[in-house]
């Protein structure tokens, strides 16, 4: 496969890759760091003009190795948060089974932004704090003057609202497309 197209495929799937890494690590910062490492590997590999049939699976494999390595290293330095290879297997399987969900990421992002704009003040603030400012639940609770449990509930609701909103929009768009 030619270099640009392999990299391009990777770029098209970057949100999925990042999502996969978030799933494996549940740490946005770590996931982003590992994402960069994965990117470097992909670039380096792309230069070798290797033939990759399933880019998604290939990239996930790279990502898994990076995650394993990361936890190996970290466990040597400090007690580690639990990481389960068998859970990683199931997550991998989930991504492999549902590749169609991972398509149209740009469209999806556009819908997410639209949905986000409709989110009410406090919910939005919460989501922004958690996902953008990377605040912990406790920090969010402190800054909003809430109980931590209230934060959890509100965050859960906000996620659901956003998730549903995006899925409806995606569905509608896909239906429209199929009617055209």
């Amino acid at each position: 496969m030619e270099q640009p197209s392999l990299v391009q495929r990777f770029l098209e799937e970057r949100d999925a890759v990042l999502g996969f890494l978030i799933a494996l690590t549940r740490d946005f910062q770590v996931a982003e760091e590992l994402f960069q490492e994965v990117s470097l590997v992909v670039i380096a590999e792309a230069r070798k003009e290797i033939d990759v049939q399933n880019v998604s699976a290939w990239v996930r494999e790279i990502a898994r190795r990076r995650v394993s390595e990361f936890y190996r290293k970290r466990s040597r330095q400090a007690p580690t948060t639990p990481y389960s290879e068998s859970l990683a297997d199931v997550i991998d399987q989930s991504f492999a089974e549902n590749e169609e969900l991972l398509e149209q990421q740009q469209t999806r992002m556009r819908f997410l932004l639209e949905c986000l704009s409709k989110l009410t003040g406090r919910s939005r603030e919460l989501v922004q704090g958690f996902y953008h400012r990377r605040q912990s639940l406790q920090q969010l609770a402190n800054s909003m003057g809430w109980q931590v449990d209230s934060v959890k509930v509100a965050l859960s609701r906000a996620r659901k609202v956003l998730g549903d909103c995006v899925r409806v929009k995606m569905q509608t768009a896909n239906e429209e497309q199929s009617h055209e």
Partner: protein
């Protein structure tokens, strides 16, 4: 698990709170249900996109330090009587704050002194938005609630108001001084011709004859007049009109436009965010300096003036191509703005067609690669880089405060002068030079007053990549400067070059920079040379500056948090540049300072060209020690340097010494630039210090390599790598080579007391190759031990003059040297030498696969081998002898030499196909003992061999050939032999041996079936080869003479049949009863200095 519990579990997981038990439960739940796996993927995607979404969704924030030209509005206060032009004077802390509405209560302004009249009536408070006048008899002082002070001169007319963003003073007559105290508020003074907006600044504005005189006591203000932005700095007073700044020819007589061009280092990789250490003060706009900024985004409909497409045509810059292939650009369109290192020229979103809505700020200063200079990515990361122009601007501005300096920069990264700069314009306007010219032309059009006053060039890394690029760099650079001076109509335009860094070595670069160290050195040398040659030019050194390390480059990539496409592709492109290639921020700034200084020295003067190599500093020594420190200055043994690379930043002059600490070991090699050398009186010396010689362990280059003469190498041990580097030619230990097209002959080489071994090429190689026959003169190689090298021990070579009148090398002496176990089979070889001697040399056990002779010469004139010993030469092919005067030799001599136990003959006089004239050579008073050892067959003692162009008038005399050991397989050749070999000669060759003779020699044989004489020259006559007065002796075996294919058992029979050894009908051969030769047991002499006392010499005919 029911759905509710599963959702709770999933939320815990998403919150990062999951325990090991939770994870096990989650895993089980996922394994059990495909729809949960699907949901998991969806929420992961939600999480990933949410993590990015806010950066995209947030309203764009203008960078705090990045004022953007705003659409200008006509003054609402413009008076019809005055031609209204707007002067926007804004403080540089600026726009960010301007966007924040402030609420100073104008109505709370107090009148501290003086009288304010509204509609002719005195008032105690200043009404908002209403014009007031200051009484004609005294100035008025006002104080705002925030403490800001306003003083209006008597008779001034103004209004005080607040609009959305600012407190405004509308000054329509007179003048005002203002001291604004509150940093967080915005304050503006507006007049029919001026609006003043400021912050924390003390300044005054005076209206006089339709002009605004702006004077700043503290801080800085921006002035927007006509179509140009100005900055009035502290201490300045400048006058503005509707058209722009009013220039007073006495105070600002010059408008100097400085062109900055080159490749990525000129573009600048000193990242302000991380490494620059710019102080806040330094980040401010530089007074009187203007930058020409691009003010348009790429447009997909018009022609490409920047040459970016070409990169792809050349198969490079695929990123640029992939991204910009459909992008074309509007005709260059820029404006002059006050220069600051970070200044954004234009901004774009979705610049790269990749989906992410990033926000990019481009430093339009540098259209070639705009995005690397100033970009604010989606993540909020900003990249603010600057090149040497920043410090040049500061230096020039400081030295010429009343001069306006205009900066135009064109520096596309990765471009080579020999390639993308396209000096001959073969790409019809698409090359970098054409683009640069267009860019400068546009800049000049935007400011017709500006005059091109300087050309700053920092480029060459890409030309160092390829050997032929590097070789042409001198001529290309000369052409570039000539073109610039012609095209901008400035024949004496000051040119300042910054040398490329010598640290860009092949080793550092891996495969990327295949031109390697040599290419870089050639480029650096060319830069110095051209700077000297073109006049009104100077070159600045960079070798002491630091490059960004590979690790830094890698980290830079990793530190970028959001991996949007632009950054990713950036990394991809930069990946090949991860190796050190760019100067760090301090380096860039220092280069700028040096270039600025250099320009200041050139400006306004007419500096004539310097003589190339002109250097007036006195000579000095550079000390090296394995324990040295490269941060030191190398001036004393205690301050020694450690690595030879330090020399690459030094301009060596005649008389300099490079001293290697006694007995120490160094790795690497020393390569002199082509022009570097001394004289016989003041040579450049490389030597070991002290009694124990220093050792250089060379890598894949010669230990010492030079082009010029005037170089002495002493007291060293040089060790090489016997393996030929992959893809390269064999490497010699010491290599002098010139292919100077003018035929220059470099004078004075001394190589003394040097051991050179284990190189894949020659031990010592001194040579040239050019029709003009450049070469070396006055060469002495003395006490050199060249052993175990892949080719020859010591060799000189050069191209032959077809007429054999001139020779590349002259006066060459090799003495007291040893050449052993070298793998070409040759020990010491001289080619292309006129006038020379090889004396007291010892060549032994040189073992070649296909040939080689211990000591020999070809294409030489008047070269003598004397008092030398050759032994133990082995070869599986031809030759393998002790001594040889070969084709093209004229009047050369071998005398008083000893040869023993070589595979081939002791002494051979030979030609070769297409050789020149080989004539008048003599072998005399030499001894051969038991040569011709090769089992496959060889001749023995002394002989003439022709297989090419022929031999004329050569003599072998007074020599002794002995074979007293049995020979395993015998050839037909004898102790004295003549051999004509057919089948190899060139068509033009008329292979012959003519006028040659054996005279007064002794041939002594105790081995069976070895001929005393052999002659296979067909139908030979005594005119061709004459045997005369020789002594033929045998002991214990029958004599044998072979001539013309016939064998003769006695000398008489041979004599009578061939006419040899006959004069006037009588035999000239010595009587047959001559005594046997007794070879002393210790005949294997290995010290040529002991040959004088070798007893067998007494047996030689006199």
């Amino acid at each position: 698990m029911n759905d509710t519990n599963y959702q709770i579990l999933l939320d815990r997981w998403r919150n990062g709170e999951a325990t090991a038990e939770d994870l096990a439960e989650l895993e089980a739940a996922l394994r059990a249900a495909p729809e949960r796996r699907r949901q998991l993927v969806a929420v992961c995607l939600d999480d990933a996109q949410l993590a990015k979404a806010f950066a995209l969704a947030e309203p764009r924030i203008v960078p705090a330090a990045n004022p953007v030209p705003q659409p200008r509005r006509r003054s609402r206060w413009a008076m019809p009587a005055v031609v209204a032009a707007t002067l926007l004077i804004a403080s540089f802390a600026g726009l960010y704050w301007m966007l924040r509405p402030t609420r100073t209560e104008v109505s709370l302004t107090t009148i501290e002194s003086g009288q304010i009249l509204v509609e002719g009536k005195v008032t105690q408070r200043v009404p908002e938005g209403k014009t007031f006048e200051v009484a004609a008899n005294a100035p008025a002082q006002l104080r705002l609630q925030d403490g800001s002070e306003l003083e209006f001169s008597a008779g001034s007319q103004a209004a005080l108001s607040r609009d959305q963003q600012q407190v405004r003073v509308d000054l329509t007559r007179g003048s005002g001084s203002f001291r604004v105290v509150r940093a967080a508020e915005s304050f503006a003074v507006k007049t029919p011709v001026a609006q003043v907006t400021t912050l924390g600044t003390e300044f005054s504005v005076k209206l006089l004859n339709g002009e605004a005189i702006v004077s700043v006591r503290s801080g800085k203000v921006r002035v927007d007049a006509g179509s140009v932005n100005y900055v009035v700095a502290q201490g300045q007073e400048r006058t503005f009109t509707a058209e722009g700044e009013k220039i007073n020819p006495e105070t600002a007589p010059e408008h100097l436009l400085l062109i900055f061009a080159g490749q990525s280092n000129m573009e600048g990789k000193g990242t302000a965010n991380t490494a620059s250490k710019l102080t806040e003060k330094e980040k401010a706009t530089i007074p009187n300096v203007k930058g020409f900024y691009c003010n348009a985004l790429p447009d997909k409909s018009k022609a490409d003036p920047w040459g970016l497409k070409l990169y792809d045509q050349k198969g490079k810059f695929w990123f640029n191509w992939a991204t910009w292939k459909d992008a074309t650009f509007p005709a260059v369109n820029g404006t002059w703005q006050d220069y600051a290192y970070w200044k954004g020229g234009w901004k774009g979103t979705e610049q790269y067609d990749h989906g992410d809505k990033g926000e990019f700020w481009y430093l339009g200063l540098n259209p070639g690669e705009p995005w690397s200079n100033a970009a604010k990515f989606t993540s909020g990361e900003t990249v603010q880089e600057y090149g040497p122009e920043y410090e040049v601007a500061r230096a020039v501005a400081a030295a010429h405060p009343k001069v306006t300096i205009y900066i135009v920069k064109y520096a596309p990264g990765g471009t080579a002068l020999a390639d993308q700069w396209d000096l001959n314009d073969t790409w019809k306007g698409y090359g970098a030079y054409a683009a640069m010219k267009q860019w400068v032309d546009c800049a000049l059009a935007a400011e017709p007053k500006a005059k091109v006053a300087g050309f700053f060039w920092l480029q060459g890394e890409s030309d160092a990549v390829k050997g032929d690029y590097a070789k042409d760099y001198e001529s290309n650079l000369t052409e570039l400067f000539a073109k610039v001076r012609k095209d901008f109509n400035a024949p004496k335009l000051p040119v300042v070059i910054a040398k490329i860094h010598p640290g860009h070595t092949e080793r550092n670069y891996g495969t990327v920079w295949s031109g390697g160290k040599k290419g870089i050195d050639a480029v650096r040398a060319a830069q110095a040379k051209v700077a000297a040659a073109v006049g009104n030019a100077d070159v600045v050194e960079t070798s002491d500056l630091k490059l960004l390390t590979k690790e830094w480059n890698q980290k830079k990539g990793k530190d970028r948090k959001t991996f949007n496409d632009a950054v990713l592709v950036d990394l991809m492109e930069k990946d090949k540049y991860l190796a050190p290639v760019h100067f760090d921020a301090d380096g860039i700034r220092t280069i700028g300072k040096r270039m600025g200084e250099a320009w200041l020295k050139l400006h306004g003067k007419d500096t004539p060209p310097k003589k190339v190599g002109e250097n007036t500093r006195s000579s000095r020594a550079y000390y090296f020690s394995a324990k040295g420190n490269d941060e030191s200055d190398g001036s004393t043994p205690a301050r020694a340097w450690r690595s030879f690379d330090k020399l690459r930043g030094v301009d060596l002059v005649a008389g300099d010494e490079i001293v290697l600490a006694e007995g120490e070991e160094f790795k690497g090699g020393i390569a002199f630039l082509p022009d570097v050398g001394g004289t016989a009186a003041k040579p450049i010396v490389i030597r070991g210090g002290g009694k124990r010689r220093a050792t250089i362990i060379a890598d894949d280059s010669p230990a010492i390599e030079a082009t010029s003469g005037g170089i002495e190498i002493r007291d060293l041990i040089l060790k090489g790598n016997p393996v030929v580097p992959e893809g390269k030619k064999p490497v010699s230990g010491i290599r002098f080579y010139t292919d100077d097209a003018t035929g220059k002959r470099h004078s004075h080489i001394r190589i003394e007391r040097v051991e050179v071994s284990n190189f894949s090429g020659d031990g010592v190689s001194i040579g040239s190759w050019h029709d003009k026959q450049p070469g070396y003169d006055d060469v002495i190689v003395s006490e050199v031990n060249a052993h175990d090298n892949g080719a020859t021990g010591i060799t000189l070579f050069g191209k032959r003059d077809p007429e054999q009148k001139t020779y590349p090398h002259r006066k060459v002496t090799i003495r007291d040297s040893v050449a052993s176990k070298n793998k070409s089979g040759s020990g010491i070889v001289l080619g292309g030498v006129q006038g020379g001697a090889v004396e007291y040399c010892f060549a032994s056990e040189n073992i070649g696969k296909s040939g080689g002779v211990a000591l020999w010469a070809y294409d030489c004139n008047k070269v003598t081998f004397r008092h030398c010993i050759a032994c133990g030469t082995r070869t599986e092919g031809k030759d393998g002898g002790g001594f040889d005067l070969d084709g093209g030799c004229i009047e050369c001599v071998v005398e008083h030499c000893l040869s023993y136990e070589n595979h081939g003959p002791g002494y051979m006089h030979c030609d070769y196909p297409k050789a020149g004239v080989t004539k008048g050579n003599i072998i005399r008073s030499c001894i051969s003992i038991n040569d011709g050892r090769r089992e496959k067959g060889a001749a023995f003692g002394f002989g003439f061999v022709a297989w090419g162009a022929g031999l004329d008038e050569c003599t072998i005399e007074k020599c002794l050939a002995v074979v007293n050991e049995p020979v395993a397989k015998k050839p037909p050749e004898g102790l004295l032999f003549v051999s004509l070999i057919t089948g190899f000669a060139d068509k033009a060759d008329k292979t012959h041996i003519r006028g040659c003779s054996f005279r007064n020699n002794i041939a002594f044989n105790t081995a069976k079936d070895v001929p005393l004489v052999s002659n296979n020259l067909p139908a030979a006559t005594v005119e061709d080869v004459r045997f005369e007065s020789n002594s033929y002796r045998v002991k214990g075996v029958e004599p044998l003479f072979v001539d013309g294919g016939k064998r003769y058992a006695t000398g008489d029979a041979w004599r009578q049949a061939t006419g040899q050894e006959t004069r006037d009908g009588k035999s000239t051969a010595a009587p047959v009863d001559q005594p046997a030769i007794t070879v002393p047991a210790e005949y294997r002499v290995r010290d040529p200095r002991k040959l004088d006392t070798f007893s067998l010499y007494d047996a030689l005919p006199r």
